[in-house]
């Protein structure tokens, strides 16, 4: 049903880290970088699509307006989207829909966050109606609890070892080592990973992503607008998937206490996480075999193994083989997390799905420097926000 191609004209990031500034600064810095990269003046932007942060007061809730005001009101229309870790993709889709529906020619998408140290915790106050509050209160279930459940099940079912998980972390450290936007830039050994403290069995400190400050921005435009700017061979958006589960979902998802029940209505043919990339492949008319690289959401290093299978790069239980064969390493058939992934960046929730888009764009342009994937033609991103927000973007050149 696609009628219009939407082009990535520019991308920009603020380095990830712990900078102690207001999130607005990271967002505006990323936005200015993306505008400069695109060669588009801020005053020409017709639509600003912000990915919200819930941690930074009202300015975070109205991210689109906050960035627009900080860049200087230009009368643009705005949106502010929230989908937890998938917020960046939702904001990108909001901008893409405005362009494809003919309501604007060029739009700016921005996400940025200032994240507290330690476990992500709910805001203060008693909220006994809020499952996100209750899972902390009644179970002490932090975010890593859920990642650990997935990891431990994988180990017991498929024989994944602690060493396998650590090797994912080591690979991503090697990838992110030279990325100037990454926060953690040090090579690691499997032994060093396995020597780090256990947080949620079987996951160790170095296998769980930290929380970071950071910002990322993307300038998107209609093909017509790009042509007028003289851009004829840019990076294009082939798909944006923002699917939700189909009932009954049998995967325990943050922040729920229980899955749906499959006693009355049988389970759908595919699990939720498998459907995320599937919807993107369908829209793009492409398959896993066409992907030159992938940026996936390694909230834990074990989760990356799941994504190999959920992206269709391997059969269920075959993720470890892919890793050991070097398929997902730089130089392999389909390198995964060439940026270093969340392992090297840490979470900056509203920015990270956009940071994935930045990385794939640089790879497709051939400007990724030491971490360049040779002859990269098509890349896929995947992540997931709690409460059933799937997210996957396919870019091509």
């Amino acid at each position: 049903m696609a009628r219009d191609e939407v082009v990535i004209l520019g991308v920009g990031m603020h380095p990830w880290g712990k900078w102690g500034q207001n999130f607005v600064e990271y967002g505006v810095a990323a936005a200015r970088a993306a505008l400069a990269d695109a060669g588009v003046a801020w005053t020409d932007i017709q639509f600003v699509s912000g990915a919200c942060t819930m941690r930074c007061g009202y300015p975070g809730y109205v991210a689109g307006a906050t960035f627009a005001q900080a860049l200087g009101w230009n009368g643009a229309r705005i949106a502010s989207s929230y989908a937890a870790c998938a917020s960046g993709s939702m904001a990108l889709e909001a901008a893409r829909a405005q362009i494809r529906s003919g309501r604007c020619d060029v739009a700016l998408v921005v996400g940025a966050d200032t994240t507290p140290k330690g476990f992500l915790a709910p805001q203060a106050g008693e909220r006994p109606n809020d499952p996100d509050w209750l899972r902390f209160r009644l179970l002490g279930a932090t975010n890593p609890t859920y990642f650990a459940l997935y990891a431990r099940r994988r180990m017991d079912l498929y024989g994944t070892t602690e060493r396998d998980i650590a090797e994912v972390r080591v690979k991503n450290a090697q990838h992110g080592f030279t990325n100037p936007y990454a926060r953690y830039r040090q090579e690691l050994t499997v032994d060093a990973v396995l020597a780090s403290n256990m947080v949620a069995d079987p996951l160790r400190l170095l296998e769980i992503c930290a929380t970071s400050d950071g910002g990322a921005a993307v300038v998107v435009a209609s093909a017509d607008y790009a042509r007028k700017k003289g851009v004829t061979s840019g990076v294009k958006i082939a798909a944006v998937s923002t699917v939700t589960p189909s009932y009954p979902s049998d995967q325990i998802e943050m922040p729920d206490f229980a899955t749906d029940s499959w006693a009355v209505v049988p389970r759908p043919g595919h699990a939720f996480r498998d459907s995320v990339a599937r919807a993107a492949y369908e829209e793009a008319g492409l398959g896993p075999e066409d992907m030159s690289l992938a940026e996936v959401y390694d909230l834990s290093s074990a989760m990356e193994l799941d994504w190999y299978e959920q992206l269709g790069l391997a059969e269920a239980g075959e993720g470890e083989r892919l890793l050991h064969d070097g398929v997902t390493r730089l130089g392999g058939r389909c390198p995964v997390n060439t940026s270093g992934g969340l392992a090297c960046f840490g979470e900056a929730v509203p920015a990270q799905a956009l940071a994935q888009v930045c990385e794939v764009t640089w790879q497709l342009r051939g400007t990724a420097g030491p971490r360049q994937v040779k002859n990269a033609k098509t890349g896929i991103t995947a992540n997931q926000g709690l409460f059933g927000h799937g997210s996957s973007v396919i870019l091509t050149r």
Binding site: F136, R137, L138, T142, R152, P248, W262, V265
Partner: protein, 146 residues
């Protein structure tokens, strides 16, 4: 852990702690029979069902471990942790009859080394934390003595 303080559930209406057969309380749609936990009271979660009537039903006391982990570090508030902090286990348990997976802490003293995916567990009620005036209770999962 046990004291003479009055014992009250840490959450209202989610589980039955009195008597010999403690259990979780689910909701069952009076129209399509779909079961939910926590108990749905307003709208059926089955997308093809428009029911708004539900009955409370006891959930199975036994299930099998779908997966498990532990909390090596003290969880942040609103969790009320013991002082000094003692790590605890967490399990996601599959209930066969209900066709669902329900989370819960592992019973006091049960370590991750003691369990595995597929192991049979049963529901027990234990103290979650205590205040000046009372002990707050919660459901937990415990391996079935074999």
């Amino acid at each position: 852990m046990s004291t003479d303080k009055p014992k009250v559930p840490a959450v209202e209406g989610w589980f039955e702690s009195n008597g010999p057969n403690p259990h979780l309380i689910g909701g069952q749609c009076e129209k399509c029979g779909t079961i939910s936990f926590p108990r749905e009271k307003s709208f059926c979660k089955n997308p093809s069902c428009d029911s708004t009537s539900f009955r409370a039903v006891p959930l199975s006391q036994r299930g099998t471990i779908w997966s498990y982990t532990n909390a090596c570090y003290k969880p942040p508030a609103p969790y009320v942790a013991s002082d000094p902090y003692v790590p605890f286990g967490i399990a996601a348990v599959e209930l066969e009859k209900e066709g669902m997976v329900v989370m819960g802490q592992l019973a006091h003293g049960v370590r991750v080394e003691d369990v595995r995916v597929g192991m049979e567990v049963e529901l027990v009620v234990e103290t979650l934390f205590a205040t000046e005036e009372k002990e707050l209770l919660v459901w937990k999962w415990k391996p079935v003595a074999s």
